[in-house]
């Protein structure tokens, strides 16, 4: 099975082969035998070259449904990465780059306490857009890039679920 590993801004070609009870991991073409055991749902004991690492895997939703995200908790660190089927990546590339801008969605369930922008407002990167309250804390949601508020879909006081659309942003060049 081949996958493209996406981590931060890096990508790697990874491949896993299981044959006659032996498992081999190939990393950018370099193959290594791996002794891997699922020691509980989502928990893995991985031994490679006698190095032993205990891995807790949790799935992460990726904005692209063809990409599977993972959070891996190890003793020394927590890593987040994603795996993409290289065939599907080719298809996605062929269909053109994704449109910039997009919806601002609620990262958690909570209440919209205050809207800090109006429809039509231009916004700069990092500008606070609205304040949500959850778990007794008020949290500012900020713009991740410069653009313009095309539509606001919630009112102050509204309760929203995780992933609920709060407003639609468009990239500056879309104006």
């Amino acid at each position: 099975m081949k996958r493209t590993l996406l981590i931060g801004k890096e990508t790697h070609d990874v491949e896993i082969l299981r044959r006659d009870g032996e498992t081999t991991l190939s990393w950018d073409g370099t193959a290594e035998a791996v002794d891997i055991l699922e020691v509980g749902s989502g928990n893995w004991s991985v031994i490679m070259g006698h190095k032993s690492v205990d891995v807790r895997l949790d799935g992460l939703k990726h904005s692209d449904p063809d990409i599977q995200g993972f959070r891996a908790t190890l003793f020394d660190a927590t890593y987040e990465f994603a795996l993409q089927d290289p065939r599907k990546a080719l298809l996605a590339a062929a269909s053109g780059a994704a449109a910039s801008g997009g919806p601002l969605t609620a990262p958690m369930p909570g209440k919209v306490v205050k809207l800090l922008v109006n429809e039509g407002d231009p916004v700069s990167e990092g500008q606070p857009l609205l304040i949500m309250e959850a778990m007794k804390m008020q949290n500012e949601l900020r713009a991740t890039s410069a653009g313009r508020v095309s539509k606001i879909t919630v009112q102050e006081g509204a309760t929203v679920e995780t992933g609920g659309t709060l407003m639609i942003l468009v990239a500056p060049e879309a104006d």
Partner: protein, 497 residues
Amino acid sequence: MPVTKVLIANRGEIACRVIRTCREMGIPTVAVYSDADRGALHVRMADEAYCIGPAPARESYLVVEKILNAAKQSGADAIHPGYGFLSENAEAAKLFQENGITFIGPRQESIVSMGSKTAARIVAIKAGCPVVPGIQETMSDEDLLVEAGKIGFPIMVKAAMGGGGKGMRLAKNVEELKAGLPRARGEALSSFGDDSVYIEKAIVQPRHIEIQIFGDQHGNYVYLWERECSIQRRHQKVIEEAPSPHVTPEMRAAMGEAALKVARAVKYVGAGTVEFLADSERNFYFLEMNTRLQVEHCVTEWITGLDLVKWQILVARGEKLPLTQDQIRLNGWAMECRIYAEDPDKNFMPSPGRISFLRTPAGPNVRDDSGVYEGCEVSMFYDPMISKLSTWGPTRLEAIDKMRSALGEYRIGGIRSNVAFHEVLMEYEPFRKGDLHTGLLDKPFWKKKEVGPNLKFAVAAAMVAELDDEERRASQPAGSSEGKLGAWQHWGKFNRL
């Protein structure tokens, strides 16, 4: 006053903490719970349980009459308020006492004196305890802006009825003060039901150091040394330790005596904390007094070997303090990390949800005080603190290394947590050196580790998980959900198609 059955007017880890001590003392416990908390750990641990209404705290945990009714119905003759909720509500304490129920906390007069942070400053000044320059009362936004000009910036805005950093804002200039006031008032209102705020001069790179005190009904007082809680984020304590690396034996004695002056001034009974700001010259200023058990009491328990909840119960029963000042030990060093359901990679956004997997650290000198369990829901209605991990060592660095190792053993699935953030902090040189101040975390030092020597191992596991998944689907008829589904149920939401 008898304490033969205790109702805990709280939830989460502190309710579980109190239940444990009651169990050991052979005292039955009564839990109260909101509709959202039917399956909460404190309900499972208590001997009895009473539902007190809908999920919002304002309709359940904060409704004094409902707590009182549960106490009467259950025959509880004492109420432990924990921290937050009703713990510093003098009206509640009064009502309980009037109904013949012991409030495991200070006298209502002490709560009133210290409950208003502005009134508390006046008490401290009169008692001869140094305070931070600031105003003595709450006022309108307009008046605060005028007073701020007189005191001089930077200015700290604080909720008059507050605590725990809620409703607190630093303003470096007039513009920030104007912008911060409504937000501070908003948080104060939603957290404490009162939007009064006051202002103080902000100390530059202050250290937050507090003294744990105890008083009994016979006029005896002791202080159980200090805790340093300078590691804060958004004015919320994140890491606490005892003792403080900043405090010399002389400073410790001076702070302890200053704290007892305040305690004596309000005839304090039970567990209380006198909070100070200290500067780099080891000057210290009274900040406020918390008239309750603190979240961070664990580190004091580690270094003294005492059970503070047990002491609270003994004092509430009318017993004398078990030890005198010269019998209190200070042994080694303790660290506490607050484990929050929040995402350090997304500006510490709260992360409620179902805890699909949970393994907590164990072994020597590790203590986990948890309010959750594998399979439980972390509700958006309450505080995101799910657990407190504390460690002990003979020296500060040994306690830190123990903590680093214990954090490495922590595994939480289903929600995000700040465990990895704490791990990085334990390796952060200014922290290890003990060069602490409340702004230490303002400087961005936290960054997700993207690549590292063990990444390959994690990817190998993920690849095999994907391969297993693919083979399983290939071997089954379309639409079937048999096979290893059970073991994979928490993966459900990541199905591709």
